[in-house]
């Protein structure tokens, strides 16, 4: 790649080199690809070494990993709010809040100049999302360029980008401690299960991500590019009765159809006695996180997204 393509009239944005990178597995203790990869790399990190950068594999929620549950007291991947990070109470705080504070000390503080440059957070989902990169800011040119690089390197296999910048739905993830948070979500895989194809896919995506960082740190300029993203719109809950019990399931026509268009009038849910409930929105949306087991308690059957193309400015190491 050369610097300054034909339509690159602006100078590349200067971004600090990524010198400190972490790879989190087990933010949810029963999402096995990340747990297994991080354990492997803690024992032998040769595969994740890159020149000019310190890369730390890290088990984010060891107690949950040991019990093979998503969390012990509260979801670690929602726990990194300013309120939690500054809470006092030590041992009386829920385990994951204590853990969030510890992670913030080790890899943050969140929002400060001393925070880690990049955290990759490895997740699995029961949804048929394939390989997905999760972006938290549409303005993070470094992350957008990384994701563009990964998508191209992974092709022809598909790796899509989900952007969760919604003011209400955005949540305080463990990776948000870093300057450039990157979520890796690969599915479908049941909780507590390790599937070889899912494991290998995540491993390859991470390899490309670390390659990008190495190239970037060496001074390579990445020209302006476009990145297609799926931008989170709204959360759709299951239909429930007056007592809050679920009364319908994801419709068989929607099950496993992550990223495919859902048009107004398309079937969305099926009641337990076989009736269809249809999507009542006014325009076509692209659903994802369809039937994620962990989201039943979060009142979410799926999220809707819109497709958008973002422009990423050229970037170069500062």
């Amino acid at each position: 790649m050369s610097s300054g393509g034909n339509n690159n009239t602006k100078a590349a944005a200067r971004v600090d080199a990524a010198r400190r990178v972490a790879i989190f597995g087990g933010t949810h203790g029963n999402e096995m690809s990340g747990v297994t990869l991080v354990n492997l790399w803690v024992q032998n990190g040769a595969e994740i070494q890159r020149k000019g950068v310190e890369i730390k594999p890290f088990i984010a929620n060891p107690k949950a990993v040991e019990k093979c549950v998503r969390y012990v007291d509260t979801d670690l991947n929602r726990a990194f709010t300013q309120e939690n990070l500054s809470a006092t109470g030590d041992d009386e705080l829920p385990y994951e809040v204590q853990r969030a504070q510890e992670i913030n000390r080790m890899f943050g503080p969140k929002g400060s100049a001393g925070a880690y440059d990049v955290i990759f957070d490895l997740h699995n989902t029961t949804s048929n999302m394939g390989c997905t990169l999760i972006l938290e800011s549409s303005k993070d040119a470094f992350n957008l360029q990384m994701m563009n690089y990964i998508k191209k390197a992974f092709a022809p296999a598909s790796c899509l980008v989900l952007l969760n910048e919604h003011p209400l739905l955005k949540y305080s993830t463990s990776r948000s401690v870093a300057k450039h948070p990157v979520g890796l979500e690969v599915g479908p895989q049941p909780q507590g299960v390790l599937r070889s194809n899912i494991f290998e896919a995540m491993r390859v995506i991470l390899k490309h991500a670390l390659d990008f960082i190495e190239l970037f740190n060496e001074g390579m300029e990445f020209p302006a590019c476009t990145v297609e993203v799926f931008w989170v719109l709204e959360r759709m809950d299951y239909p429930r009765d007056a007592n809050g019990n679920i009364i319908a399931m994801v419709h068989p026509n929607l099950q496993d159809c992550d990223w495919e268009p859902l048009n107004p009038g398309d079937p969305m849910f099926q009641t337990f006695d076989g009736k269809s409930i249809h999507y009542q929105g006014s325009s076509t949306v692209y659903p994802t996180f369809i039937n994620e087991a962990a989201y039943y308690e979060k009142q979410q059957a799926f999220v809707t997204t819109r497709r958008e193309t973002l422009v990423a400015s050229a970037v170069r190491k500062a």
Binding site: V193, N197, Q255, Y296
Partner: protein
């Protein structure tokens, strides 16, 4: 040949949530409790709907203290209890009182225990006997065009039998996958709902005196379990189910076929001396039980024609057994 005469199925139990995160059965039993449909055809069986492990269901976990579906041995059901007795053992006694006692005349006639698996097994019946004609006939009757079905036999004596369905005079687990734990997939739910419906229909017809012709049924008898290769010290698994085996439940596995793939990409092969049928491939709940997959032999079982005893025949049969008990 004359049909085998068997007592009517007066009481049938349908159990869901024996594992609290196997949701098809949880939702199905909840729905059936809501609608409480009564059987109208023939001689009604009284149908009991049971949510077996409410505490585990509430937490959406397999179990709270210990696996409920291992708590039904005679020893566990009748052993001593204390304040420290695990929740599931107390619950197994409650269920035994409700549906049993196991081994007694008061036990329900048929238990159908609903389960889900993360393995790609389609719909399976799991039973302790390969000659329980009731279970085998129900299986045969159930054949559903879109759902692969198999009959799995665990050759465990009545004394050692440990599952909930062993409480009934007849019993089997209806196991459907693949479904992640904590999730309900509509196609899996629908298959289970139809399966239970057909089973109850069959019981109604059976009780009303229908003759069911005999025939042949393929039965898979469990031979052994295979664990993951594990690290000697940490006991952590060191390989995944090989991609060429993943999701290929009931596809014959030959000696030399790939079994596992280590994290460094090496293939480990099946080194048994006979081809066997794998099932429960990569069932999440079995990691802690040291089971990566189970292996079975297939055989063809001839099942006789059967018919329910009339009231007269039932009286005669019970007089005879009373007389032989007296002799003893």
């Amino acid at each position: 040949m004359r049909p085998v005469l068997l007592p009517r199925l007066c009481r049938v139990a349908v159990c869901g949530g024996t594992h609290g995160n196997e949701l098809s059965g949880v939702y199905l039993v909840r729905e059936m409790l809501k609608t409480e449909t009564r059987r109208e055809d023939g001689e009604s069986a009284s149908v009991l709907m049971v949510l077996s492990n409410p505490r585990a269901m509430q937490q959406c976990r397999r179990y709270v203290d210990t696996d409920l579906n291992r708590c039904f041995t005679h020893a566990t059901l009748n052993g001593p209890v204390s304040d420290g007795t695990p929740y599931e053992i107390m619950r197994s006694r409650e269920l035994n009182a409700m549906l049993g006692p196991k081994g007694s005349r008061a036990a329900v006639d048929l238990v159908c225990d609903l389960h889900n698996t993360t393995a790609n097994m389609g719909l399976c019946f799991i039973a302790y006997s390969d000659s329980d004609w009731i279970c085998l006939h129900i299986f045969r009757y159930l054949q559903m065009p879109d759902t692969p079905m198999r009959f799995i036999h665990f050759d465990v004596s009545n004394k050692e039998s440990y599952s909930l369905y062993s409480i009934g005079k007849h019993g089997f687990a209806m196991e459907i996958g693949p479904q992640p734990h904590g999730c309900v997939k509509s196609d899996i739910y629908t298959a289970m709902k139809e399966g239970v419906q057909h089973m109850l229909d069959w019981a109604g017809y059976f009780n009303s005196g229908c003759l069911f012709e005999g025939g042949l049924v393929d039965v898979f008898t469990m031979v052994k379990n295979v664990d993951y290769p594990r690290d000697g010290e940490t006991r952590n698994i060191m390989a995944t189910i090989h991609p060429r085996l993943q999701d290929r439940d009931f596809c014959l596995l030959h000696p030399g076929d790939p079994l596992f793939q280590t994290f460094s990409g090496e293939t480990l092969t099946y080194n048994g001396n006979e081809p066997l049928y794998p099932f429960f491939i990569n069932e999440c709940a079995y990691y802690e039980k040291g089971i990566a997959l189970s292996l079975a032999r297939k055989k063809c079982v001839t099942i006789p024609s059967i018919r329910a005893q009339t009231e007269e025949e039932e009286e005669q049969a019970s007089e005879q057994s009373f007389a032989s008990e007296e002799e003893e």
